[in-house]
Amino acid sequence: MANKIPRVHAREQDAKTRIKNFDEVSYGYSADEAMLEASRCLNCKNPRCVNDCPVNIDIPEFISQIAKNNFAKAAETVAQYSSLPAVCGRVCPQETQCEGSCILGIKNEPVAIGKLERFIADWSRENNLNFLEKKENNGKRIAVIGSGPAGLTCAYDLAKIGYNVTIFEALHETGGVLAYGIPEFRLPKKTVVAHEIENLKKIGVQIETNVIIGRTFTIEQLLDEEKFDAVFIGTGAGLPKFMNINGENLNGVMSANEFLTRANLMKAFDENYDTPIYVGKKAVVVGGGNVAMDAARTALRLGAEVAIVYRRTEVELPARREEVIHAKEEGINFNMLTNPVEIIGDEKGWVKEIRCVRCTLGDPDSSGRRSPVVIPDSEFNIETDVVIMALGTSPNPLIASTTKGLQINKYKCIVVDDEGRTSRAGVFAGGDVATGAATVILAMGAGRKAANAIDKYLNQQ
């Protein structure tokens, strides 16, 4: 029986070695390993994994092609559904999506769908395969704002069916969160991310970096003066949240966005780059999501002793499980049921300690997670030089505040309907800017949906 084969674990850099470098942790599968793992798939008649994939990749089909050593066919299958498989194979929370509903997971371990997706995407890149096809140019112009997962997907889908697409990116580099947020050791920039951007350029997408919509141009200017026929806003959720506790402006307190941007986008970990970064001897990261894990593991690699402080328990950690496991293997100290109440500085205004309280779990809150309840008189201090706040992000209000008639909700997210249409005709949005901080794959799904809606809208004009 196929399901008697245990899940094939991808080889990884040893924890002791990898905490001294920024190279990717997982080596991924070899061809033999991939075929063995693929052979575990039961090829269900009613595949639940497909339903739980936000872009509904035909998972059993591409896996059965891998099992048959028919890699090109497998790659082609994946490419029909996803323009960023090498990214998603690495950063999707598979355990709550495709792998979470795998039948094998009931009694044993689910098929490693993420690792297989990564394998086939890497294989197709290394073998210079591409499935780029472009229909005849239809002469219509689309402005895509933001070059993160939502914008890249929307641009790709529209360019394929003949639109002239220009992406406007505020930073000097493309990729959005893939460039500034996710570290090199999870997502290699030069190979994986750069390749996806190159593919976009190959099908004619223009990319203008250093353009901030809302400042350099407004949406109105794009539509009225620059004569774009439609606009897609995929600007993500870039604004960091802080706790509003005492001591948050001390030297040594920073957002995970700042810390990770310095490390990832500005490459401050590399001594050949000029941007400074500070981790001190000890660092505390507040939060339990992927960004918290990324910040903690980056600080560790820069030489700090790192503790994570999270107010719920390990069960509620929103981070991908693989990242939590990796962080633990690497020696990150996890302080669960702990919440900061104050940051204490020395006489010069630098962080010295973080004051926390212990919590227990109470009744579930609106998110369905059990909410933390503070234990009275449980205050204690953790000595630290740096505090990194990884508490989530909200959308940048710049575009909403400079675009007439663009409706936003109380979380500052742009309001869209099921198809990605905003309150303004010709203006579409999707990804974190509409939903608040979520995942790469959900942003991609939203970018695709909006591309369809844009095509429909312009065909009706």
Binding site: A170, L171, H172, Y180, T209, N210, V211, I212, R215, T216, F217, G238, L239, P240, F242, N244, E248, N249, N251, G252, M254, S255, N257, E258, T261, R262, L265, M266, K267, N272, Y273, D274, T275, P276, I277, Y278, K348, G349, N396, L398
Partner: protein, 280 residues
Amino acid sequence: MYKIENKENIAENIFRMDIVAPYIAKSAFPGQFVIVRTHEQGERIPLTVCDFDKDKGTVTLVVQVLGASSKKICEKNQGEYIADITGPLGNPSEFINISDEQLKSKKFLFIAGGLGSAPVYPQVKWLSMHDVKPDVIIGAKTKNMMIFETEMKSFAENVFAATDDGSYGFKGLVTDMLDDLIVNQNKKYDEIVAIGPMIMMKFVSLATKKYKIKTTVSLNSIMVDGTGMCGACRVNVGGETKFTCVDGPEFDGHYVDFDEALRRQMMYRNQEHQANCKCM
């Protein structure tokens, strides 16, 4: 890549550069800033916009050699290229939203310290174009570090020069000059805009609080992206945390916690010192 159309050494270690950046030139207003990255390995550094020419498509920046990164920009020659320039960032000066009628009823005093003359210049120019002639104090350490005096004179009512060492104009700090204008020369001002080193803006704000004159300052906080993403530029204004990049860079000087702002500027001093040792 963005071309350096023109480069001029305007004072000791201070350079004026016109960068070809038509999008920014078209959309910039006084009070805003840009972020520049000189080369692939460079930092993103915020610089105030000194002037912009919509027809030529150029943006004028003024840079003083202070550390490793500013040195690298200043080493670039006319005709060469910088890797990136992005903007305009931050909010335009508040007065550009005021009607000309209202503007004419106000007497403005600008206080420019050191490199602060660069961001003050487009504001004075803009007001002058709207038939408002402000007074300007230009302060510098010494005569050969005084910049923009001639340019400022063509748009201002009065330009008062002050040097710390008395080598040119009034001898003393800009705050001494301010006291002299108000106490001895009996000048009346409705609004003051002070731009220069953080410590100067602190003491100007303390002085104008005493005179009860509304004072706007432009902060030069540490930043990475300049679009609200990193929060490195957090500043306490009237007990609330603001981001210099998106909420500023101009704030009411009477509400800014300058001691915190001065301390936060020191965040990367050690690393900067090391970089300077490597580069100088």
